[in-house]
Symmetry: C2
Subunit: 899 residues, 2 copies
């Protein structure tokens, strides 16, 4: 018989922290904490196998499940001395999700299960607190109706407003009628009266009675959690976070404890270190006489946990001063957990009538700065070793250090509009929008948008993802917006109470000013300040972060893959060098042609009728190109610089309207009709597969000759100036040895001439970009002549899959939704298809030329998963944009450790 239910309670647990795959993160850690002797309300976990069984068997449970659940309930009853469904001493349960990987707020929870007309009187008698009992009952009714009776059943109401909204409206109206400000103003009788109204409304709207049976409530809650695994929010989140649907969720059923039983009760959320800065200080928030959901939802602004983390001038009472003994107990648990888990923990606790209960521990999310600091600190504290530290920092978290900040000089000159909590560091400027859909739509149009909301909810994740920054009026540092933004390393300010937002009118009022959709804000997420308009942003300066520098040094010691950068200009090369790039893997030459003087020469060339005219037009570009290459080779002196010869089809240089044709005709004295004819001739149906890459240099050898001369003369002159440069001439879009040799011959001939003319010698390589399936298939032949291969995985993905990157938008969303593609293959390399070709080319290339230099210069060079793959196939280096260089340095080190 399979074991589907794992019990934990009173110091004993069936499971442990290592069983995350079966019990989910929450369940595994509840078991672990229980075994550690930490006070945890007893309960049990239904495994992820139940979830998978449920979906594979048409929403039915395994036959043995019910009995296992009933046995676990009995154990619980024994430990708690309470009976589930009992008239006198009823046991209540919470039902919570718990996936392998944390998915905050993406799935459902039902609390207070077990409250029925039968158990309520007993609980009132026992607690002598009807207000508490009916408040708990209305919470159960609301959650249950929303989660179990509506969402899980897929019910849609006509006006689009859910049952939760309707029930909250009844409560709001009641409070308004009675002039109540807070929920705590309501009496027990009033809550009771409201629960009756709630139940009637549910019956009216959903057509079914709220169940008055504790067993029915329990199974309803369990089913709703499993169903929420395939809810729209959860699916969206999994897609963004690359979580496979096969993982499933576990369900945790746990005895209820209450933080809202009076002023000796409380609830809180804390981190064992500061998740925003990484400081080794206990950091958290709590609320007296409240349930946990009140903290997370951001409805009441919580209080600081201790004195050390209070802002100066903050008058609020910390847990440390309010309940010193309990704080002390909590702080000991904190140290115990960190030592045990060797990582920062995110914990939830509840104090019920003076007794501390731990509801959860899990590895805490943190932003990049904090992740780096914690990892490096923990090495110094001997908690972990350097390798572990490297594995602790996600490469993408470095982005935060590398993102621009608001220019501090400019920032000092202006006053902020308002101030909020600094939930996500870094600076951002954007145009404000008020809904997630608007954020997504306008971002798609290329706008930088800041999503401004009262508070965010899991329904908003797509818009949060699309926005450059998030700003909320409510919520704390552990609110939904803060958690999500931190996970993504996105600029975010929360709890900015000065905001008065009208979503309908699409305006926000701050003081006497009104801002409408499209107005510009600048956010400094590091300090929580909001500015009107666009302030200049400043490049990040990761070098000033000591822990970052230390971590990167460790990474550099470990990694096997080299890291170069893709840069077309000396400035970019210099920046990348500062970020740690050891050379240029791809210097594109085409942008250099768009300068007005140069484009004229190119157009003359395109319109030339004879080879002679074409040659003389091309040669006009030589001095410009030489200067370009001199700059970039100089900026990367002592390091290799791979320069790709002209790649795009010629028609890109001669896209002209009538007016421009007229001007050009006058300027270069060619008939307008001839220009039009030539433009027509150059038109291509599939330019991606057209006359480009080395096909240009083969048809117009004078282009190759000019570019080779520019590169090699630049190298010669720098060499004579006493500099050491390593130019690597890269022939693009090669599919056969014959193509490569045709172009190589030109380059080598020019090189010989240049060295003769300038009486100087220097090293240079001639190699190719491997970006066509055929190039991979005949890589052994091409390697006979090519000294290096640089994989152009963007184009290789296009041709291998037959996907045009410019057109894939037409069906990519469907492909991701239908799980036909696990991930956009232009973001992360398709290892089994495109990767197979890369592997083949590596093997074949080496079979002919053992010491062939192998690198990759496609966009995938900055993607950690792809980097891991490139490490495994044995490339020598990856090349990526300057800002991705630190990411790649870390990712390459992780790849070394993980393989």
């Amino acid at each position: 018989m399979s074991k589907y239910v794992y019990y934990f309670g009173d110091g004993n647990a069936d499971g442990n922290a290592k069983m995350k795959n079966e019990l989910g993160g929450k369940g595994a850690n509840l078991a672990e904490m229980t075994s550690l002797g930490i006070p945890v309300p007893p309960g049990f976990t239904l495994t992820t196998a139940v979830c998978n069984y449920y979906y594979e068997n048409n929403l039915n449970y395994p036959a043995e499940l019910e009995e296992q659940v009933m046995q676990a309930i009995q154990k619980n009853e024994k430990v708690m001395g309470q009976i589930f469904g009992d008239e006198k001493n009823p046991l209540l349960f919470s039902v919570r999700s718990g996936a392998r990987s944390s998915m905050p707020g993406m799935m459902e929870t039902v609390l207070n299960i077990g409250l029925t007309s039968k158990t309520i009187p007993g609980l009132i008698a026992k607690t002598n607190n009807p207000r508490f009992v009916y408040d708990a009952y209305r919470r159960l009714i609301t959650m249950y109706a929303d989660v179990v009776m509506e969402k899980a059943e897929g019910v849609e109401t006509e006006d689009g407003h859910g049952i939760r909204h309707r029930l909250e409206k009844i409560l709001d109206e009641f409070k308004a009628t009675n002039n109540y400000k807070s929920d705590t103003d309501l009496s027990g009788d009033e809550w009771k009266q409201l629960t009756e109204q709630f139940k009637a409304e549910i019956k009216a709207i959903l057509g079914k009675e709220f169940p008055d049976n504790h067993i029915e409530q329990l199974w309803g809650g369990i089913g709703a959690v499993f169903k929420s695994w395939n809810g729209k929010r959860a699916i969206n989140y999994r897609r963004i976070e690359n979580i496979p649907s096969e993982w499933g969720t576990a369900v945790n059923v746990q005895a209820m404890v209450f933080g809202n039983l009076g002023d000796d009760s409380a609830t809180g959320v804390a981190f064992t270190r500061n998740p925003g800065t990484g400081d080794n200080k206990f950091y958290g928030e709590w609320l007296i006489n409240a349930q946990g959901e009140d903290v997370v939802a951001g409805l009441r602004t919580p209080l600081p946990l201790n004195e050390a983390t209070k802002a100066s001038g903050d008058e609020s009472k910390s847990l440390e001063t309010t309940f010193p003994e309990l704080y002390d107990q909590l702080d000991k648990i904190r140290l115990n957990l960190e030592k045990h888990y060797r990582d920062m923990q995110d914990i939830e606790f509840t104090i019920q009538e003076g007794r501390l209960w731990m509801l959860q521990t899990r590895v805490g999310k943190r932003n990049g700065v904090a992740a780096i600091k914690m990892a490096v600190d923990m090495v110094h504290e001997d908690l972990i070793d350097k390798n572990e530290a490297i594995l602790r920092v996600k490469p993408s978290q470095l982005d935060e250090l590398l993102h621009p900040m608001v220019d501090p000089v400019e920032e000092r000159k202006v006053s902020p509009l308002a101030k909020g909590l600094p939930a996500g560091p870094g600076g951002a400027s954007g145009q404000i929008v008020f809904t997630a859909d608007d954020a997504e739509a306008q971002a798609k149009d290329g706008k930088k948008v800041i999503l401004v909301r009262d508070e965010t909810s899991p329904e908003d994740v797509h818009g949060m993802h699309a926005a450059v920054a998030i700003l909320t009026a409510k919520g704390g540092m552990t609110s939904h917006a803060a958690l999500v933004a931190r996970g993504w390393g996105k600029c975010c300010i929360v709890g900015c109470e000065a905001l008065h937002i009208s979503v309908d009118k699409k305006i926000v009022e701050i003081g006497k000013k009104t801002f409408k959709e499209g107005d510009w804000f600048t956010l400094n997420g590091t300090v929580g300040k909001i500015y009107e308009g666009q302030l200049p942003l400043k490049d990040a300066d990761p070098e000033s972060n000591e822990e970052y520098s230390e971590l990167m040094e460790w990474a550099d010691e470990i990694r096997k893959l080299g890291v170069r950068t893709n840069a077309d200009r000396p400035e970019d090369a210099a920046l990348a060098r500062k970020f740690g790039a050891k050379g240029i893997g791809l210097c594109r030459t085409e942008h250099m042609f768009f300068d007005p003087q140069r484009i004229l020469a190119i157009r003359k060339m395109i319109l030339a009728e004879t080879e002679e005219d074409r040659r003389s037009a091309v040669m006009e570009l030589l001095p410009y190109q030489k200067a370009d290459f001199k700059g970039i080779l100089d900026a990367m002196h002592d390091l290799p610089v791979t320069i790709r010869l002209l790649d795009p089809p010629l028609h890109e240089f001669i896209t002209l309207d009538d007016e421009q044709i007229k001007e050009l005709a006058a300027e270069i004295k060619v008939a307008e009709d001839d220009i039009r004819k030539r433009i027509d001739e150059l038109h291509e149906f599939n330019p991606m597969l057209g006359h480009r890459g080395c096909r240009l240099g083969i048809a117009y050898p004078e282009i190759t000759e000019m570019q080779a001369r520019a590169i090699l003369e630049a190298a010669a002159e720098l060499t004579k100036e006493g500099k050491t440069v390593y130019p690597e001439v890269m022939i693009p879009l090669v599919g056969s040895l014959a193509e490569f040799k045709n172009q190589e011959t030109i380059v080598r001939e020019v090189a010989g001439k240049v060295m003769d003319e300038q009486k100087v010698e220097f090293e240079y390589l001639v190699g190719t970009m491997i970006e066509l399936p055929r190039a991979c298939l005949v890589a052994d032949e091409i390697a006979e002549a090519a000294e290096f291969f640089s994989f152009g995985t963007n184009d290789l993905t296009q041709t291998t899959y037959g996907f045009s990157r410019d057109d894939i938008g037409g069906f990519l969303p469907v492909y991701l939704d239908e799980k036909i593609l696990p991930v956009d293959p232009f973001q992360s390399i398709d290892q089994s298809g495109v990767g197979q070709l890369v592997e083949l080319a590596v093997k074949k290339g080496r079979s002919t030329r053992e010491d062939i230099k192998l690198g990759i210069c496609g966009e995938h060079g900055g993607d950690p998963d792809s980097i891991d793959f490139f490490h495994r196939v044995g490339l020598a280096y990856v090349s990526c944009s300057p800002f991705r260089v630190p990411v790649a340095r870390l990712a390459t080190a992780r790849a070394t450790l993980e393989n």
Copy 2:
């Protein structure tokens, strides 16, 4: 020391017929004939290795060559009893090219080498025929000036007229002044006078003296032949015929014999069987008192060889009646050669003063009808076996039997404009053009053109290739035009003397009628009749050709690969079945959408806003599609029919101008702007890599559902009618198992429903088109679900090479010229690249599903070289257009024999 020179003469030869690679075809056969005791003027052959050495060493010869040549000359002198350069008894030489594969007229020849001021008096004394000697001298001067001094040196004259033209003009003017009609009217003195004028003109135009030294003449001639191997004509011809440049040419130096020494001298060209019909009759032409070049050039109309092949009413004298003994000797040689070579020979002979000399034998070119008849006849004559017969017929030669003919019923109703010699069988209609360049240019624009010339020359081959037919005013059945057209199986009429062509005015006069460029002619090449305008053409009827049927039966017995057809309509399917196709390998469904009623439904679908509307629009197509599929399945009953689901991107169905948008808007009640917006949305930058193939069916599953239902309901209904059908549903453009499964699921669900509804069972398969590199790479995965693979090698070539078939024209000519591509990869499969993927997919596919059905349905399915490859990789069938089916049947048999 390498042997570079092979001697032959007087019954002894260093080489033999097997040494074609070294000696070229001509040299090898001269050696062979010599060894057979056939009278051959003695001589020697410089090997193809000399040619390659010459080009690899900057146009220098191997050091040992000169001595070997001098030794061979001495042997020749001994046999002939004449001395090269001798004052009294001079030996003269011819210098001719000779490649491995015959390249008629593509390279140079120089005759009469050795005539100098020193040798001429001796020769006059010896022959007592100054007219002959000076005629020979002027021929030497003309050829030498043209070939050695001008072409080989790359001299270009200002007005574009070559030296040959100028010399001929001098002769023409001389004849006009003297009122001479024929060259034979000139006396010896007059020829002498002309040779002096020629030499003066040469000096004036080319700036150099014509050499008066026999050794200088000889080496000049040899060098010119080697240089002509890389002349423009030869390169063009090699490109068309796929002859590698590395083969090189040999040079044959041979003692001169003269057919123009008087009325006891003659020259002729003959075939051992009729090259136009295959009849086993000695067939040839001769001229009395003439040199061989006079026959080939078509300047004089030659006489028939024998009585048996004379046309009725032909009064001209045959060789048989003029020189019966010599004819008898020749006929014996003919039989000897056929028995020895076991194939039809093309021979050249010269009679010098009553003595017969054989100048050449080679396997004779023949048209398709003749090739088939000869091959089958020779099997019946026990000369060859069936396998040999199959290898004797080039698959492309079958084309001739399959080409349309002028409809005989219609033809009888009209009178021909004129009549010529039936040099290339079959019928053709086209617009007349007068230059090869015009033919090429207009054919590129999609026109069908007939090239009309006085006579053709090797300079015209590109235009001849581009034309649908060739018509000349001069020349015989062995003229250049006739030889070339026969080789290509192209409709051709030569020697139509009624034509009066003015190339300058671009008109041709026939009788009193004048036709200008662009006017339509229809040619019946089988009988040599020319008609005004366009006559209807009729499908070929190969079945009526008994030898063809016999040969195809033999082919079918031998071949391993199956042959299917690509057909979209029942008529095509029926035709292909008649041609021997065993099923349909590719039935495209998109053409079925362009009918006005249907296109409206498709457009409604494209413009639908909801899935429901889209579905209802698509379902309107169901009855049409069902009828389509019923027709085609019925036409191919008992045989498999592979039907491909919709493939092209939707924008192909909605390419509309403003007026059409307006109409559509009115018709389907959608705003014009919405139509425009949707058209914009559907626009793609690279449609080849866009939203097409299975990507359509995945995004719009209702299309797949409708098509599957149409196919399967058609199959169900035919099954109920008692017919056996084998539908094979093919999912296009699959790159992963997930894509395939998505579509397969729909098809199988529909199949289950249809069988239930119709209460009938039938077999069907679901498979995929393998046309993306990724599909090949993960073929093992795809084969988990796919029951068959059909390779779409067109698209696979596009993506593997990164070549758009629509755009490759921009650089393909350069690629072929520069030898970067050996052949257009869309015509013949790129075996090392694309082929490697096909092999991989075959291996991987079989590793998962041992009995997977494997075929190919790209255009390469009708290309013999590609078929050979597909045989080797072990496919089960090829599929091609109906007219290519016989070609494929033969090619598949040849592939079996050759591997």
